[in-house]
């Protein structure tokens, strides 16, 4: 340990910083997936959406010089992929889980194809707000350099929680998810509701991807997302389709994902790869603990194929 540093405190501070920094993509993908799943459909393709979002954000930011246009482009790309998913799923006898797997492979493949020329150049990144100005400790200041997208995500969770409960749109989405027949009887098109819910879900997931390429880690390469999208989809299941629980779970996941690099920074390098796999192990462990073979999960939308 270097003298004058904060010693082993580096680890919890780095985990805190990680919880804030790394959690943002988890947060956006899980909130988006929460909307989609509440409407009665599961989109496993958000892994591909995340990577496509990261690539298109980086590309547009590089071409236009404006990272915020990149964020917008990522969202639109995500919404288009969501529309593709919903469009194929609305055909008769098409399985939404299988379509998700297909779009996961398609999205990553397309992103690698289109993103080939973007590995070299440097695009303008998103700015950070310095919340650590009061502190003298550089590590803490680094941890508290917070991106606006994180704040938007944090604000989005209670808004969605409120919207699901009280707004007309929230009620419609929940109706489509609980009983397609009821929504149909009320004169609404279930397919249209699910199309919109999947597009909004894709929009959020795309924005989550833009955070990866434009803020942290802040570059475009083919190893940018390895399973964060699918982890976030799993996270929705044990957050019981509750946006507020998605927020807490994303923060916990960000912290877990930051554990490996944090330990490496204080010289613990032996289990580096295993610590990097911490979010996946944590997801699996929580799913094993909280799922049950006997009853369907509380809060699960009744139309969701994955819980039946």
């Amino acid at each position: 340990m270097a003298d004058g540093s904060i010693g082993l405190w580096t680890v919890p501070v780095a985990v805190l910083g990680g919880a804030i920094r790394v959690s943002t993509p988890f947060l956006f993908v899980s909130l988006g997936e929460c909307i989609t799943e509440r409407s009665g459909r599961i989109n496993l393709g958000l892994e591909g959406t995340l990577v496509m979002g990261a690539m298109s954000a980086y590309g547009i930011s590089y071409l236009t010089g404006s990272p915020w246009l990149g964020v917008l482009a990522a969202g639109i790309t995500g919404a288009l992929l969501g529309a593709l998913h919903a469009g194929i799923c609305s055909l008769p006898r098409v399985n939404d889980i299988a379509v998700g797997i297909a779009l996961m492979l398609f999205g990553t493949g397309l992103a690698f194809y289109l993103g080939k020329p973007l590995i070299e150049p440097t695009a303008p990144r998103l700015p950070a707000i310095d919340f650590g100005w009061w502190s003298d400790i550089p590590q803490l200041r680094a941890a508290l350099r917070i991106n606006v997208l994180f704040l938007i995500g944090v604000a989005l969770a209670p808004v969605l929680y409120w919207a699901f409960r009280t707004t007309r749109w929230g009620l419609l989405i929940r109706t489509a998810g609980e009983s397609a027949d009821a929504a149909r009887a009320m004169g609404y098109s279930v397919l249209l509701i699910r199309l919109r819910a999947t597009m909004v879900g894709g929009f959020f997931a795309g924005i989550g991807g833009s955070f990866l390429s434009l803020f942290y880690p802040g570059s475009w390469n083919e190893g940018l997302s390895s399973g964060q999208g699918i982890t976030a989809v799993a996270l929705v299941i044990f957050a019981r389709w509750d946006p507020m629980l998605c927020l807490w779970a994303s923060l916990a996941f960000g912290g877990a994902a930051a554990l490996g690099p944090a330990l490496q920074s204080v010289g613990v390098t032996s289990g580096y790869h295993l610590f990097n796999a911490a979010p996946y192990i944590l997801t699996l462990a929580i799913m094993i603990i909280t799922c049950s073979p006997k009853r369907t999960l509380t809060g699960a939308p009744a139309e969701l194929s994955i819980t039946r």
């Binding site: 889980i97 080939k116 390895s226 399973g227 796999a277 996946y280 192990i281 997801t283 094993i288 819980t307």
Partner: protein
């Protein structure tokens, strides 16, 4: 393709077709060739348009794809070499599909199988090659089998969705592989690319005489045929298909669904684990991160395109092996990025799934009721 090809959902609902007439008797099976075939052609057309947007001539594309995949004896051998692991990883998705399970973790079982097989070879330094190879096959299959059995067990005993858990297990397997390859199993001589020690030239399984295609292809063919016999011609396979069609019915007639799930998942994982063993013992000679080449993920596509039929997996794996074999030529001659194969695979997958809507709807094939 035989006439008792059925998709898992309809496995129990095959009505005896008493009416005469070829279409009426075979309309169903023709559908299983015609519709995926049309999906494939549609996907190739869309990929041609996609490539044309980047200023490449689609006709050149098709020509080089054919050349790179099936044009010469050399490219045929390349294709078949790639088809071998694809057959085995496709079975990792196709077998659980008989039970109505969607397992997409073949890549993880492949990596664990490769690690287990390498460990077995390194643990038996002075044994005759045949013993070492048999030990590698057993270790690879057991390693991969137990890995997917985890996903099956989580599903059966804890109700965890097997699609998500099997995919999470891929990332965990990759982390375990990197951990071991850069840690206790590292060959100190491997500087740039951390790897295990070599299993030794004598222990490699070699090529089928007269070709450059390794014996892994034969392993794949045997596994696919054995799976077909198991699923369609044994009581066990019948029980699995009944459980896949209707779990409640299976329980009422006294089938042990849990045992079926665990056994099928073990066999599925064992198949992908064997693919890992083959990649080590016939191609790489050691374990390192190169093994995560995506065979497990392409295998998912193979299984879906083959409509989860173990026998149909063989020609589909050769077809997709050909597509990936042509990737190199597309890169050299047309300057397409290596990811273009991934894009094409993704487009094919989307088309194949969308074509599911067509079954039973094509007018002139409407033979059965």
């Amino acid at each position: 393709m035989t006439s008792d090809v059925a998709d898992p959902g309809e496995a129990v609902a095959i009505a005896p077709a008493a009416d005469p007439g070829f279409l009426q008797r075979h309309g169903g099976s023709i559908e299983y060739i015609l519709i995926p075939g049309a999906a494939l052609v549609g996907a190739l057309a869309v990929f041609g348009i996609f490539v044309a947007l980047f200023g490449k001539n689609p006709l050149d594309l098709y020509f080089y794809m054919y050349q790179g995949a099936f044009g010469t004896w050399f490219s045929w051998q390349n294709t078949l070499t790639r088809a071998a692991p694809l057959i085995l990883t496709a079975l990792c998705t196709a077998l659980p599909a008989q039970l109505g399970m969607v397992i997409i973790g073949g890549e993880g079982a492949l990596l664990i199988g490769a690690l287990a097989a390498t460990s077995a070879a390194l643990a038996l330094p002075s044994m005759p090659p045949l013993v070492v190879q048999l030990a590698m096959v057993c270790a690879g299959m057991i390693g991969g089998g137990l890995w997917i059995m985890l996903a099956g067990g989580f599903r059966q005993y804890r109700g965890v969705n097997e699609t998500i858990s099997s995919l999470l297990l891929v990332y965990i397997a990759l982390a375990v592989l990197n951990h071991l390859v850069e840690g206790v199993m590292r060959d100190p001589a491997s500087l740039n690319k951390p790897s295990t020690r070599e299993i030794g030239a004598a222990n490699m399984i070699g090529s089928i005489p007269g070709t450059d295609v390794h014996w892994g292809l034969v392993f794949g063919l045997i596994a696919a045929i054995a799976s077909y016999v198991l699923i369609y011609h044994t009581t066990f396979g019948f029980a699995a298909r009944v459980a896949g069609g209707n779990v409640r019915a299976a329980k009422i007639v006294g089938l042990s669904v849990g045992k079926l799930i665990l056994t099928i998942c073990f066999l599925a994982g064992a198949s992908a684990g064997l693919a890992g063993m083959v990649e080590v013992a016939a191609v790489q000679g050691r374990t390192n991160a190169n093994l995560a080449a995506g065979y497990g993920f392409t295998g998912i596509l193979v299984a879906f395109l083959a409509r989860q039929n173990p026998l149909a997996v063989i020609p589909v794996a050769i077809l997709l092996g050909g597509i990936s074999a042509s990737g190199g030529l597309l890169q050299r001659r047309l300057g397409l990025p290596d990811a273009s194969v991934l894009v094409l695979q993704g487009i094919i997958f989307v088309f194949v799934l969308a074509s599911d809507a067509l079954y039973g709807r094509i007018g002139f094939l409407k033979g059965k009721s």
